[in-house]
């Protein structure tokens, strides 16, 4: 094996480990919400994990800044919600969870994810 081949292998292995750690090893902290919350839709959801109370109505104001077609819809399937998110327009979604648990929300194609934790 030549030196350059060795270097390429090391870089590739480090790259694979880096990709794994960067994309799959992230940890998120839940934002505690009472009443309403703004979620910015731009390359994902900010914040992507929210904690809301059970038995009370929470309003989520989605605001899409990202023109990518992947993000043009948001789906909160547990609450049977599929809403179009027009670019640069605020869309209000109200949910009143009755049971505690963690519920995923995602874009229309299931590529971007967020979590609603009901406490």
């Amino acid at each position: 094996m030549t030196t350059d081949q060795g270097i390429v292998i090391i870089i590739a292995v480090l790259g694979i480990a880096g990709v794994y750690q960067f994309f799959l090893g992230k940890r998120t902290k839940a934002v505690r919400v009472t009443g309403d919350i703004d979620i910015v839709v731009d390359g994902g959801y900010t914040p992507d994990t929210i904690e809301i109370p059970s038995g009370k109505t929470t309003t989520i104001h989605f605001f899409r800044k990202d023109p990518s077609s992947c993000l043009e819809e948001v789906i909160i399937s547990e609450f049977k919600i599929r809403r179009a998110l027009p670019l640069s327009e605020r869309v209000d979604v109200q949910i009143t969870p009755e049971m505690p648990g963690a519920f995923k929300f995602s874009c229309g194609m299931g590529m971007y994810h967020g979590t609603i934790i009901v406490r």
Partner: protein, 744 residues
Amino acid sequence: MTSIKKTFAIKGMHCASCVRILEDALKTVPGVSSATVNLATEKATVDYDPASVTDKHLSSAVSNVGYQALIADEMEHEDAERTRKQKELSQLRTRVVFSLVLGILIVWGSFPGIVNTSPQFMRSFWLQLVLALPVQFWAGWSFYRAAFSSLRHRTANMDTLVALGTTVAFGYSVVVTALPQLVMRAGIEPMAYFDVSTIIIGLILLGRYFEARAKAGTSDAIRKLLGLQAKTARVVRDGREQDIAIDQVIIGDILRVRPGEKIPVDGVVTEGSSAIDESMVTGESIPVDKGPDALVIGSTINKTGSFLFRATKVGSETMLAQIVKLVQEAQGSKAPIQRLADLVSSYFVPVVIMLALATFALWYVLGPQPVLLLAILNTVAVLIIACPCAMGLATPTAIMVGTGIGAQHGILIKDAAALETAHKVRAVVFDKTGTLTEGKPRVTAVIATAGHTEDEVIRIDAIVEQSSSHPISQAIMEEAHKRNAVAPTSAGKFEAIPGNGVRGESDGKVIISGTERFMQVNGVDTAPLRADIDGLLDSGNTITIVALDGIAIGVIGIADTVKPSAHAGIAELKKLGVEVAMITGDHTRVAKAVATQLGIERFFAEVLPEDKASAVAKLQQEGKTVAMIGDGINDAPALAQADVGIAMGTGTDVAIEAADITLVNRDLRTVASAIILSRKTLRTIKLNLFWAFGYNIILIPVAMGVLYPAWGILLNPIFASVAMAASSISVVLNSLLLRKARIS
């Protein structure tokens, strides 16, 4: 700050001071930059920042000062959404044409086989760089933007892969163009690949264009339903007929509908009659005759006569609005079959990037010369061929089309899980009364014991029956009225025992009326009526025995007519290989007579309402997926127990809580249609998932070069982009093919 202008009508204005009050109220909404109100037109025009102001804010600002804002309804919202989509599509088309035209010019000057036909200047790498530059960073900017935004969130998607792949091809070509001696020193002939980067961008954008167009078709159903809504109504107020906007109709308004017009809202006919085409809401193709007291559904079309009706439901309460809401909710739900695709999608892109890195290293270390070039091209092919979109689109597009088709045929599906489960149904249980039969029983025979007359039996029974709302009681009351045998007083100590009968007291005497079992429980001897009871039961009558002070005085035979669509509905289910059963609280012999008439082999008779769920559970214990069909009111526990609860709609309430599927029309053939729809939708989903998974599982290794050692096959990145674009389009088009499916 971006600002948009909105004009909407205001209700309740009457003087000039209203203008100032309203303008002040609207201007105080944070984010509103200006507001003008016109008294003459009764309209407000507001400039505001859509990021902080919603229709609700404007509406509550207006209502807080005592007026009503009639802001864009859902239909207008839908129109605005469509206009915005069209604008986006047109911009996308410009980028597609731009990148493909420049890409083709570059291909002409560089692609082996045709390069010889191009003028010399077209072969210049510098010219190709100039042509490729705007494609990469203008037409392809959306990929970079999305990729950067995703990276900030430590997520990756399709755009990340395209941005990475094309940047690698473009970057390498820039190095070849600017520093050819560098690649020559590595033993590689300097060859630019601007054709790869530009054509990939052009084709993927073209794929997105077709995909966006096709995706718009998947939500056609909602748009069509909203389009049914009438815009105006002709109201009769103060003896005068006038046209008003639909949102100004209030409950209790008397409305006039002329031939050929749409019925504006739900209501009850008060005068006149007509044939009404309800096909757009119920799926029933034959117009229905309606006269006084008949229910009419908003958005259906009046064919022949002119009539007046009283509005009973308006706005979001109308049947059409409920249907739209149900379909929207179903489309927002997730089918269990989607879980695997969701799981794979969330790991997919990072895994593909890791595979691309591995591909580069493997080709660099183990590949033939020129190693660097082949390593780069195969890495680009891996990044470009991977298509997570096809997996993400496979299930939701089919669910959207499936639920939409259902709504057009009068089949309202509560959620995607119900649609998925319905394809497994192997046994269907029908509730008899009101589902297989019309639910309007009438008295067919009255038999009195010695010493009593028929009229006396009816008159005595009517004393207790008049306090009950049971259909059998109503049939007996109808007969009593016909015979002029209604007592002026009702029974004291009245009691209705569900599934058994009724009892009460009159003039100190106890009257009991109900089933044979009820008589036995109360110690009434039915032997004198034995032959009559048997005769009535064998001919399919439900019986009510009447006893006075513990002695049977007669028996009343009641029969319900079978629905005209019952025979065909059951035959179609049998054709699908589904076992059909019937459940009823009626006597076994009545049940047998009806079952025989309809060709139903299995029935559960004399089942109390609360035990119907147990009968469904019994079938489930045999390992069958069971659908229960009922009216959704008396049999709610059985509907909930069944794997799929199907309610036959009555009136204009479609959101039946216990039901997974609501059939808007009363045609029993629709049950088979619902199962066919579920089967076809699931077949489409499975085909989509098979294609989306199979595509990635097969072609990613091919792009990595697994076929190279044995057959010398490598995937050109340009062909990889063609395959990638085709894969997501094919999934959406396959879902759209469902629209052509015959389900009835």
